[in-house]
């Protein structure tokens, strides 16, 4: 329940924040990488740092993460296949062998089929997601955004104290 409220809060918090559609879309894209790829990996520390340090919507990041976690689970077989194909491609063997025997790089778990497949997918998916989200946010704000903001249930949800946590990182 808490997770659901948090998700709704983050969704509307992000949509009605003062951030630009681009900031919100960038946050969602970074969040989507966190959600699509296995979380406890070194590259996600970098993504998290970018999400915090760059002036993008943190709420969007949380929203993207929450939205893309189930999608990540669903697409795991696809990621496994992509990773397998890439890691066992004869033309790329030299590159992977070089990476594998270079300090720090193996700590990223790039040699795991699901990790590599999901990262490649998430990176390729980032640009279309960014533009699609930006267009969607613009249309939302131009159409039903104001009506939602004035609604009673919106004010109820946003009055929750949890929302204050997100305010801290509001762009």
């Amino acid at each position: 329940m808490f997770a659901l409220i948090k998700l709704i809060q983050s969704l509307f918090g992000a949509l009605h924040s003062e951030g630009t559609p681009g900031q919100l879309a960038a946050g969602i894209v970074l969040g989507s990488i966190l959600g699509l790829t296995p979380l406890l990996n070194l590259h996600n520390a970098l993504i998290f740092a970018l999400l915090v340090l760059l002036n993008v919507s943190f709420a969007g990041g949380v929203l993207g993460w929450a939205l893309f976690i189930p999608i990540g689970f669903l697409l795991d077989p696809l990621f496994d296949w992509i990773g397998h194909s890439l890691l066992l491609a004869p033309s790329l063997r030299g590159l992977w062998t070089s990476f594998y025997n270079t300090p720090i790089v193996p700590l990223t778990n790039f040699n795991n089929t699901v990790v590599l497949g999901s990262v490649v997918f998430a990176v390729l998916f980032a640009l279309p997601l960014f533009f699609a989200t930006r267009v969607a946010v613009v249309r939302y704000r131009a159409t039903i955004g104001e009506r939602v903001r004035q609604s009673k249930w919106y004010r109820t949800v946003m009055a929750s104290k949890v929302y204050n946590v997100y305010k801290m990182f509001r762009p």
């Binding site: 900031q23 002036n55 397998h84 992977w96 193996p106 699901v114 990182f169």
Partner: protein, 585 residues
């Protein structure tokens, strides 16, 4: 409005987060390393790995493990080994490449085969992972051996039902009958096409004419000569047919002989349905000791195959199941490289262990393990192990440097108190007492040569109550109860997928000769009975076919002979008349 790219105020919280992460690592690193070691160890060996305490000292590159327990992958309530303390000298720099290089391990207080409270098997229950697959494969491998079963307790000989459809004589008889019919038709047709009737009629008419002709009647004389030529040609055709009939009858006779062969095969098949006690000494040895002898081979093969999976030869990328997590584990692909460090390397381990730890004076042993690595081709040297002590000599060499791996192991262990066991097929219990066991194992590619031997001079036999009313049981009991020495040897050789197993013991000959003396009559009677059953099923089919074949042969040969005789007779008369007419003697 210009939008700032960086959120500088977030650096503080991020740094705080980083510091918290470092503090958490400092606090929980030992615990995390302990859990991960347990998890990875369990996954690799297919049995629970438990560590009471693990301490990481990365600054000095030391890892100390206390209270290590590795359960047996095969026995539910037994440990493979326990160690009081293991101190590893770790090379820290390769950790940045996720490579574990251990320069030296000192293990103290190793104990083997200790009992445990809970079932520590993992692969045997789940069947998952590399260990699970290898365990299933070796189990299947061990189950391929056909071990003869002794039915000595009651001495009963039973016969399974004999299905006539599985006898080969009946279809062979039907086929031969059809061939006989076909031959008969073919020969009749051939005889008809000879058209001997017109030739004989014409020759008879010429003969009559010749009898009345004078010596100057040249036309009649010429006609007689032509008739003789026609008879000769007809005779040649009959000779050809006769050859064909002779060949055909020979084939039919060989068909009859084939029926006899088929019947012998059916006797053999029917005999296989008999549940006879084994009377040959090698079969007795296999029946008594093969089930127990296969186990050590199966276990050594399990570890050898695990070593081959985790230490494969060559430098090609290798896939292993990834670490389990909530998300799909996927596969971890390793990319070994020449002149680089392997993924895992234990350069040297010094082992000190106790055997018979519960005795008043436990025996202390020492062993050395060198070059244990995940990438033998990268490391360039084989893995070797050696241990020695008052009653133990053991050694192993895993050479996975080249394309065809060679695994060799050997051990001689004395003073081992082997557990008493039920002798298969016989309600006898054998307590080998303190025995000397020897194991030799060589797996060269897919060719296996292995030997397992037990020698004991203090064997004790216990008789089961189920033996009470059995003559055979009494006999076996009298045979073995006076034997106090036990000498069992099992040998395995050949292709790994279908090796030959030979088991012999000093009991084989003694039991086999007694068995043969008592059961020989019963076995012979049972064999007679099964032959009679086969005969009863087969005779109804074979008898008519045999008669038909004989009839066809006789009929064809008689017809040919008759025609030939008529031709010969007529030709003879014509030639005689001709000679008289022209005045020759």
């Amino acid at each position: 409005m210009k939008i700032k790219i960086f959120r500088w105020r977030a650096i503080g919280p991020l740094l705080v987060l980083f510091v918290i992460a470092c503090v958490l690592w400092w606090l929980f690193a030992d615990s995390i390393a302990r859990r991960e070691s347990q998890k990875v160890g369990t996954q690799m060996l297919g049995a629970k790995v438990e560590i009471r305490d693990l301490h990481l000292d990365l600054r000095n590159g030391d890892v100390t493990i206390r209270g290590l327990t590795i359960a047996s992958p095969h026995e539910p309530f037994q440990n493979l080994l326990q160690a009081d303390e293991i101190v590893a000298d770790l090379d820290v720099v390769p950790l940045t490449e996720k490579k574990i290089i251990i320069d030296r391990i000192a293990a103290k207080g190793l104990r083997f085969g200790t009992p445990r409270q809970t079932d520590g098997r993992v692969a045997a229950k789940s069947g998952e992972g590399i260990a699970g697959r290898v365990l299933a494969e070796t189990h299947e491998w061990a189950s391929q051996f056909q071990i003869p079963v002794l039915q000595l307790a009651t001495g009963k000989i039973s016969i399974d039902s004999l299905d006539p459809r599985r006898l080969s004589t009946i279809p062979a008889a039907a086929a031969l009958g059809a061939r006989a019919d076909s031959s008969r038709r073919a020969w009749q047709a051939a005889l008809d096409t000879l058209r001997l009737g017109p030739a004989l009629d014409s020759a008879s008419a010429t003969l009559e004419k010749l009898k009345r002709a004078r010596a100057t009647d040249l036309a009649t004389l010429n006609e007689a000569r032509q008739a003789i030529d026609r008879l000769k040609r007809a005779r040649n055709r009959v000779t050809t047919l006769e050859r064909s009939v002779t060949q055909g009858t020979a084939n039919l006779k060989s068909g009859l002989a084939g029926l006899d062969s088929a019947r012998r095969r059916d006797y053999a098949f029917a005999r296989s349905l008999l549940k006879l006690p084994s009377l040959d000494a090698p079969a007795v040895g296999a029946a008594l000791f093969a089930p127990g002898a296969i186990k050590p081979f199966e276990r050594v093969l399990y570890y050898a195959q695990l070593a081959r999976r985790y230490m494969p030869p060559g430098l090609l990328p290798r896939a292993t199941t990834g670490t389990s997590r909530v998300r799909r584990a996927g596969e971890d692909i390793r990319f070994p490289k020449e002149r680089a460090l392997p993924r895992f390397l234990l350069r040297s381990a010094e082992l000190s262990f106790l055997l018979h730890p519960n005795d008043a004076q436990p025996q202390r042993y020492a062993g050395v393990l060198t070059g244990l690595t995940s990438d033998p081709a990268v490391y360039g040297r084989p893995t070797s192990f050696g241990a020695s002590g008052p009653q133990l000599v053991a050694g192993a060499l895993l050479n996975h440097l080249r394309g065809i791996p060679v695994d060799t192991a050997g051990a001689t262990l004395g003073g081992i108190q082997l557990p008493a066991f039920e002798v298969p097929g016989v309600p006898l219990r054998l307590d080998p007492g303190a025995a000397v066991t020897q194991l030799g194992f060589n797996l060269n590619g897919d060719t296996i040569h292995a030997r397992f031997a037990i020698r004991s001079t203090n064997v004790r036999w216990t008789r089961d109550s189920g033996f009470a009313n059995s003559t055979i049981g009494d006999l076996i009991w009298r045979t073995v109860s006076g034997i106090s020495n036990l000498d069992v040897e099992a040998r395995l050789s050949g292709e790994l997928h279908h090796p030959d197993l030979a088991v012999r013991s000093n009991l084989d000959q003694a039991i086999a000769s007694r068995l043969r003396a008592v059961l020989g009559e019963q076995v012979a009677a049972a064999e007679r009975q099964i032959r009679e059953r086969v005969d009863a099923l087969v005779n109804d089919k074979v008898g008519p076919v045999r008669a038909k074949v004989n009839e066809v042969q006789t009929q064809a040969q008689a017809q040919v002979a008759q025609q030939r005789a008529r031709l010969d007779e007529l030709q003879k008369q014509l030639e005689q008349q001709l000679r008289q007419r022209i005045g020759l003697p």
